[in-house]
Amino acid sequence: MTEFLQLLFQGVSLGATYALVALGFVVIFRSSGVINFAQGAMLLAGAYTISWLATDVGVPFLPAVLMAVALLALAGAAFQHSVLRRVSGEPTFVLVMITIGAGIAVTALIEALFGADQRLLGDPWGSSSFGVGDVTINWVKLWGIGVTVAALAAYFAFDKYSRWGLAMQATAEDEEATLSLGVPVSRVHLVTWALAGALAVLGGLFLAGFPNSPQPTLGDAALRAFPAIVLGGLRSPTGAVVGGLVIGETEVMTSGYAPAALGDNFYAVAPYIAMILILLVRPYGLFGRAPAERL
């Protein structure tokens, strides 16, 4: 029972991190219909920026995180402005391919700059923990859950109460019509990508927290948030949360209980298998609906 509770907590913590990562995907998908395959690279960039500022430059941790958030938001907006803007109006296919290309380039660039070895994150929590009964609660995981809840609440408020949230949804629905109604569509895209960049820092921070550390393979872990968004349906922030938790629990529980016959590191592919099984039953995810088709 103790082991189960321990795994349950780890699953919730990992699921919260995936939800944070998934929210980054959803933000972009909702405003542009693009699945951002560069999200893994952005998370990596976020984690490495914090690590570089906090350990190499010597900035205290909290300012380092805030600076990283600002830098990545700027980088996201710059990517939209200098690259994606050039292909606006092209089929979504082209934009998705561009994010794939940008992702591989940024990941390799990070590996070239910082090497393939693990780095220190420079966070104040490290492996510190406290016990509830026999269950170990790591501070970094608890903070991860807290920040995720705060970020999600902020996003829901932004989406519901600010004009930008509405503008983003309208832009996703019909870019030309939205433009003709006087919404500054290119600025909406800039804000979207800046937001995704900022979210990537938070996601990267907790993905790289104990027991992980900033290293190039973390990008693969970020890709496991894909099943989470697919399960949740690409448009739904609520779905991102539920999908994240389902995938987090799936991964942690299989790491604890999967029989040896399934092979080493089965937990790393369990999210994908769960995703394919669920998609066979519900092709648009748990919360997605089949969109109405118009010619």
Binding site: G101, M275, P291
Partner: protein, 352 residues
């Protein structure tokens, strides 16, 4: 002018091995082998507009089928090369039901999962794949006609070594694959695929059997990937499961984009750039030795793949073929021009 292009290319391709150094011929052989797989992906992505990140998995399945049949059971290459294609094609047909339900972008994610699942299986199916240490792959042998390193074929004054034999075998298979896809593109199925790419709902309304067509594109694509993978493994003679990775899938995507999506010559031209790049970059004088830290050749290669994809899509979406067409407009292929126009007049796809 255009009537001379094809024979001229054929003569060039046949003469090429005799003009190259051993190292250059090795690179050229890998390029031609990869072009077979890229021709397949071009059907799926270039014609039918489906994004697949799973191409490496199909190459891996083909390679291990070839290895198990050729090396472990002593089957002749005349059988294991096609069998590799069939095994990969079957996997493609199995994926069909999923492909049939999912539209565009969901499919990219499912095939992303496929790469990781396939790698997991390759790492753990030790009996077939040798596990993490990797395994040896059989040299191509047609009866007593042996392609192993060290063997030489003498034709009069000319000699063809092992690399050359692989080069010509791959060239013949590539020619067959290209002829097949060229005809496919001009058939009813080919036109239906392009309709599917441009707008799925419209294609379905016009009577295109969207589901069946997607499965067809998948099977063709994965069959050619399997053949390519079998030759690739055999020519490498040794491979580890880690090789059939997401990066390999991205190499193939880069190749068809750089060459020109949906064009006939695109896959070969793109592969010539993408798969020759690593050996070219290794020659750069300013790079540090491998393993000494700093900017390594492999990092630089990955960076260039990404930059190539982004640069071509933003600046020259029709790839090298598009550049060539622009250079001598008189011989330009109408078909590409039309495709381009259609893309421009349909500014956005359904947000599926």
């Amino acid at each position: 002018m255009r009537r001379l292009t094809l024979p001229a290319l054929a003569v060039l391709a046949v003469a090429l091995p005799f003009a190259l150094s051993a190292a250059q011929l090795t690179t050229a052989t890998f390029v031609v082998i990869a072009a077979i797989g890229a021709t397949g992906l071009n059907v799926l992505t270039g014609f039918a507009g489906q994004i697949s990140l799973g191409h490496a998995a199909f190459l891996g399945v083909g390679a291990y089928t070839g290895a198990v049949l050729g090396a472990d059971h002593g089957v002749d290459a005349l059988l294991w090369i096609p069998a590799a294609g069939v095994a990969a094609g079957l996997l493609g047909a199995l994926l069909g039901p999923i492909a049939l339900r999912l539209r565009g972008l969901y499919l990219a994610i499912v095939t992303l999962g496929l790469v990781f699942i396939a790698q997991h299986v390759f790492f753990n199916a030790t009996g077939l794949t040798g596990g993490p240490q990797g395994r040896a792959f059989p040299a191509v042998q047609f009866g007593s006609f042996d392609f192993s390193p060290g063997k030489v074929l003498r034709l009069g004054a000319a000699t063809i070594d092992s690399s050359g034999l692989y080069y010509f075998l791959a060239l013949i298979l590539l020619a067959a694959a290209t002829a097949f896809t060229w005809n496919l593109r001009r058939s009813r199925s080919g036109r239906a695929m392009v309709a599917l790419r441009e707008r799925e709902t419209a294609a379905a309304v016009m009577g295109v059997d969207v589901g069946r067509l997607k499965v067809t594109a998948f099977v063709v694509s994965s069959f050619l990937a399997g053949i390519s993978g079998a030759l690739y493994g055999s020519y490498l003679s040794f491979a580890q499961p880690g090789q059939w990775s997401l990066l390999m899938s991205i190499q193939f995507i880069a190749a068809i984009i750089v060459g020109g999506l949906g064009t006939t010559a695109g896959p070969l031209l793109g592969c010539a750039v993408v798969f020759a790049l690593p050996s070219l970059l290794k020659e750069l004088p300013f790079l540090p030795e491998a393993g000494s830290g700093g900017l390594s050749a492999s990092d630089l290669t990955s960076i260039s793949y990404g930059v190539l994809i982004v640069a071509f899509l933003t600046l020259q979406p029709r790839g090298i073929v598009g550049i060539a067409d622009r250079l001598h407009r008189s011989g330009g292929n109408d078909d590409h021009a039309k495709t381009q126009k259609v893309t421009v007049t349909t500014p956005k796809e359904a947000h599926s």
